[in-house]
């Protein structure tokens, strides 16, 4: 009963799999539901073909490069953009830029990286492809870097009273952010093969903390955005472009999280696996399409926020909107 998925280049079940970081719990379940070749060879063979195609090498400048490597670099590089946006302010030690817009640039960057990190597993569920799996670790690491950078800059340059700690945890919404950063540190430190080996069976439960961070982000944004209710110009929805609802960070979070959460519910995964087993993958895509569309809707406005606030930070003309 070997399956296409079993032959993936990430090691066999129970073996050492260095590419599995954060959000790994789902794979246990997927292993149980792996379909056999005899039931639906077409779909899994097709998915295997994509993975195989990605594994192939091509010649570039005298060296051989895997297609997968190029694809991973192309998909992974944008996650560096938030840090890049803050680089001029860091090099010129511009405290004004840090004080005004680090939360919008690195904070939003951390949120984006978290969602991208959490998106990998649902995409594996939907497509059956695994070649993009290493991105989960990459996005997770960059989420941690963005979050820690945001916290450090806020603690050093924010205008709140109470010194470094007061600026980090002086308000309840900040306390939530501070807790997220505290939780992300052990994940960052143990997000490597050596730590995975050393921690053994404790590694997975530890990395389930990513879900706690996801929940804390909801509380952080809820408190920051007045539980989603706009009060005049108070809140991120006031952007002057006539789309306050789309700019509400809590709504963006909710729109994205609905998709990420739905695809993690065991009954939903069982239904998807059953339809895929029947060779009716199209039904899965049709059913999930509105949830995916809502996810894209939310994500586009988070990216929009990141680009505009980030460019302002990059030019050291931070926007306080």
């Amino acid at each position: 009963m070997a399956t296409t998925r079993d032959t993936a280049p990430y090691g066999g079940p129970g073996g050492y799999r260095p590419d599995l970081y954060f959000d790994d719990l789902i794979d246990e379940w997927q292993g149980e539901e792996k379909p056999g070749h005899d039931h639906q060879p077409e779909r899994w063979a097709a998915k295997g073909r994509v993975d195989e195609w990605m594994e192939k090498e091509f010649r570039f400048g005298g060296s051989r490069i895997k297609r997968k490597s190029v694809a991973l670099i192309l998909l992974g590089t944008p996650a560096l953009v938030p840090l890049f946006f803050m680089l001029p302010a860091l090099l010129t030690l511009n405290t004004n830029t840090f004080s005004v817009s680090v939360d919008d640039t690195l904070g939003t960057g951390a949120e984006l990286c978290l969602f991208l990190c959490l998106l990998v597993t649902p995409m594996v569920t939907l497509t059956g492809q695994r070649w993009f799996f290493p991105l989960r670790r990459w996005y997770g690491i960059l989420m941690a870097c963005n979050a820690i950078g945001d916290a450090l800059a806020a603690g050093l340059t924010d205008s709140f009273a109470g010194g470094f700690l007061g600026r980090l945890a002086g308000h309840v919404f900040e306390l939530m952010g501070f807790m997220m950063v505290m939780l992300v540190i052990p994940l960052l430190v143990t997000g490597n093969p050596w730590a995975q080996r050393k921690l053994g069976r404790y590694w997975k439960p530890l990395h389930a903390l990513i879900y706690v961070i996801w929940g804390l982000l909801f509380l952080h944004l809820s408190l920051l955005e007045g539980f989603g209710f706009e009060h005049g110009s108070d809140g991120s929805g006031f952007a002057g472009d006539g789309d306050p609802v789309f700019h509400q960070r809590l709504y963006q979070y909710s729109a994205c999280s609905l998709f990420l959460l739905t695809l993690r519910l065991p009954p939903v995964k069982r239904w998807i696996a059953a339809r895929q087993k029947e060779g009716r993958g199209w039904l899965v895509w049709v059913t999930i399409a509105p949830v995916l569309a809502l996810f894209m809707f939310g994500l586009i406005f988070i990216i929009n926020e990141e680009i505009f606030k980030g460019l302002d930070s990059f030019t050291n003309t931070p926007s306080a909107e």
Binding site: S233, F238, A239, G240, D241, G242, D243, P244, V245, F246, A255, L258, F259, T262, L265, P266, P267, V268, K269, R270, W271, I272, A274, T287, I288, A289, P290, V291, A293, L294, F297, N304, F308, D312, S319, E321
Partner: protein
């Protein structure tokens, strides 16, 4: 046995189907509501700009809002320290124009640096298109004054240096006039044809 297993499997996936259908319907409603809401963006954009006294021409793609007040604040943040520095340099020159050529020259050099810096900052300031002719005139007037100050700083005697004073004053008055024009242009609300 296999029938029981099949029926159990069906039950297993029923819950998933119901959950997914419910969430999908909710998501579809939200997406449609979002698209419907998006159709009113233009009207709300104009209303938001009017309510916040926004300067629409300063908003790239209309996604940010810079009010006239913010614009004036940013402009003054550039001009005020520059003018203060120029006043200090001028005072230093006035104090030395009758007694020390070297010190007066240092004061004029500092003045030139301040003038050039102000020009550079004005040139990179995101002025709305409506006021760009005034800005151009201000930069030109300031450049003319800086050029003349440069010539004055090259003087070989105090008498020669003082001979520039009257022309410098005339150029200074031109700069001040353009600055006043710019302030009043920035303070006024955009006209209807400037609205996006």
């Amino acid at each position: 046995m296999s029938e029981m297993s099949a029926s159990g499997g069906e039950r297993d996936t029923t819950a998933g189907r119901i959950i997914l259908m419910a969430i999908s319907i909710l998501a579809a409603v939200l997406v449609l509501a979002g698209l419907f809401y998006a159709t009113g963006t233009g009207g709300r954009h104009k209303a938001a700009l009017a309510a916040a006294e926004c300067e629409p021409n300063l908003s790239p793609s209309g996604l940010q809002c810079t009010t006239v007040q913010m614009l004036n604040g940013q402009y003054m943040a550039i001009v005020t320290p520059a003018v203060q520095q120029l006043n200090i340099d001028e005072a230093a020159y006035t104090a030395n124009e009758g007694r020390s050529l070297a010190t007066a020259e240092v004061a004029l050099t500092s003045e030139i640096t301040s003038e050039r810096e102000l020009d550079a900052r004005l040139a990179s300031f995101p002025f709305p298109p409506g006021v760009s002719p005034v800005v151009k005139a201000l930069i030109q007037a300031n450049q003319a004054r800086a050029n003349l100050t440069t010539e004055q700083a090259r003087s070989s005697s105090l008498t020669q240096m003082r001979s520039f004073n009257q022309q410098i004053d005339v150029d200074g008055a031109a700069v001040q006039k353009e600055m006043k024009l710019l302030r009043s242009a920035l303070g006024s609300r955009p006209t209807a044809d400037q609205e996006p």
